[in-house]
Symmetry: C2
Amino acid sequence: MTTDLITRRAQRLGPNLPTFYDDPVHIVHGEGAHLWDACGRRYIDCYNNVAHVGHCHPHVVEAIARQAATLNTHTRYLHEGILDYADRLTAYFRHDLSQVLFTCTGSEANDVALRMAQAVTGKTGFIATDNTYHGNTTAVAHLSTRRPPIGGWPDHIRRIPAPDSIAPLGGSLAAQPQAFAEGVAKAIAELKAAGHGFAGIMLCPVFANEGLPEVTEGFLAPTVEVVRRAGGLILCDEVQPGFGRIGTAFWGHERLGFAPDVVTLGKPMASGHPVAAVVTRPDIMAAFREAFGYFNTFAGNPVSMAAAAATLDVIEAEALTRHGEIIGAQLLDGMNALTYPQIASLRGAGMFLAMEFSDALRPNGAPVPHSANALCGRIVEGMRTRGVLLGRVGRQQHILKLRPPMPFGAAEARDVLAALGDCLESEQTA
Amino acid sequence: MTTDLITRRAQRLGPNLPTFYDDPVHIVHGEGAHLWDACGRRYIDCYNNVAHVGHCHPHVVEAIARQAATLNTHTRYLHEGILDYADRLTAYFRHDLSQVLFTCTGSEANDVALRMAQAVTGKTGFIATDNTYHGNTTAVAHLSTRRPPIGGWPDHIRRIPAPDSIAPLGGSLAAQPQAFAEGVAKAIAELKAAGHGFAGIMLCPVFANEGLPEVTEGFLAPTVEVVRRAGGLILCDEVQPGFGRIGTAFWGHERLGFAPDVVTLGKPMASGHPVAAVVTRPDIMAAFREAFGYFNTFAGNPVSMAAAAATLDVIEAEALTRHGEIIGAQLLDGMNALTYPQIASLRGAGMFLAMEFSDALRPNGAPVPHSANALCGRIVEGMRTRGVLLGRVGRQQHILKLRPPMPFGAAEARDVLAALGDCLESEQTA
């Protein structure tokens, strides 16, 4: 059955399609923090932040079904749905981030964010880290692709060294904020010298794709100062950390304590219904609306807004941010108790955690190439056979990423820790 | 109430937001080819091809609700939904167009189509008509924007004269196919001379945004030959004509009788659920998958696929293509019977019709600037007060566009014709 599906995928969807696991999982049902495969086996989902309030939450399903049976049309007619939700959403922001533009995907949101910075500055130069991902449109993929685009690397994008927990920029975790900002300043100077000027920097405030390195409050303060001085905008990609995933703070930028100019939202926003958004200040929205015509047929429609509103209902009613803070802390404590030599670093906030592995050493002390990568791959596969689905990130794909649906509870945390301990234990004897 | 909503929109969503009508309509419910406003007034929808099988079709609503309650996750796990639908969808294509990549919006689909042409040719030069629209991502908007992008017009995009029914290229409708192809050849030569090379041309096969000019079978044959000889790809944007809207043919390219290399789909595909796709040949898909990493979190998920499959169910079960052919012909006949001097041209296929107005003449025979534009604007507003919602296109926004949900029936056609006759009659005495 699984083999049949893999063959059909290759035949109908083409080659090189991203699939998780050597032997991909065939999922048929989801509920809360659990997924079930076609054989009836239950998995704990430690990967999926899209099903933020839990897979198939009945309140969200009911809202989608009710609105889909009532009206689903574009926003060139008036409708309360978009306004009621926009009011609720922007109430979660400070810094005059009071206006919102809806899209269908985080990629579309980031594509708009780039143009907002262009509209405000009149410039085209952008900065992103050298180990990130912000989406899949042509313009946004330029920020993060690992392969040279057809026609060559675009000159108006500069990539700067990403923060790192094991090999921090500037040589120490204390020096890293300033060193990171110096990378930004250098890139700005290059963009200006090349005639592009500086429009803005796009950042995930928890550096999720960079491997969730240890960054604490104030980390970006020197960077923000450099960017502001150069007249650029801070584009904050909250597609992963947003909506209370990281515990104490509802947004990543709130946790780090800085004021972004533009914030983009996506994945968890509407429980898998394709909804994303750009939140910004009125002056920036006006500049964008003046410089670019923009209309998105599906975005902001009544069903999308009902799905997003119902998702927010659940976040609030079930106090999921506080829940994630408590359970995430338990999970991190448990991970800290797993004292195996391959673990180089553990970190995280709320329900977003990372376990970084170190390379093994040769007898002469040199690291074995890709050994942390291979180890991390074995752990991901080993967790799957133990009924836990999770992913990995990092320069060498050597960092385990735990990002479960928020209703993930204490029982799931215990099971995940047991599986993780078991996997790591088997690595000691291997 | 309406005023309140307009104020709230400006405050929360920003300025210059596209809204239909001087006094925007506040829609609260949809069913079949009808929409209802907040005062309980019923409108005939002659605009909306997204609600292709009718607003809130119970079969589609039920499919979305059932799947949303079962599973909604990304395509890195295996699922039958995407494969079953992809099989059904590609069965509607010939020319070895047998593989599909799903996205959430037509814009995303066109953004991918451009990169497919880049991947196959290794070139970056593109051609589109000078009066078109293919979507809202940065890369795709470059094909059709009327405002200079920040940083200036991109040199690798060339705009060629669009076909026209009243002032045909080459001086006559008979000469237009060849004249259009000559525009393409000239643009290809320019792109090659400028060092970009030629990757492809993107076209809507019924030139929907160009005002649905009269194009018949074979119209694009000379263009296709020019493009093929130059080694470029034909990217066929079927977002508007696709899924049987135009009567006899299920796709626009089928009606014109040519073989595209890449076809993009969108709006009507899943009844408003954000689903779109790129259909192409295996060789092109492989080149794209080799040159670009591409993953789309929401695209192809089980709920999206259920919505798309249910939409196709209804198209088939209710024989909507045949229905649209019959009713569309009745509507066109009735429009032909409206013999008013301002009507310059009537045309269409199936349930996609256009009425083009001519400029009034001054006593010296010169056209009055924008008079067809103003007339068309008055007709659109007049139809709205008579309970019919429709839009307009064309270089001067002087062409009425009728594109109702497919269940639009004979009774609706009679009502629309009566309203249209009434509007036009009032113009004679004005």
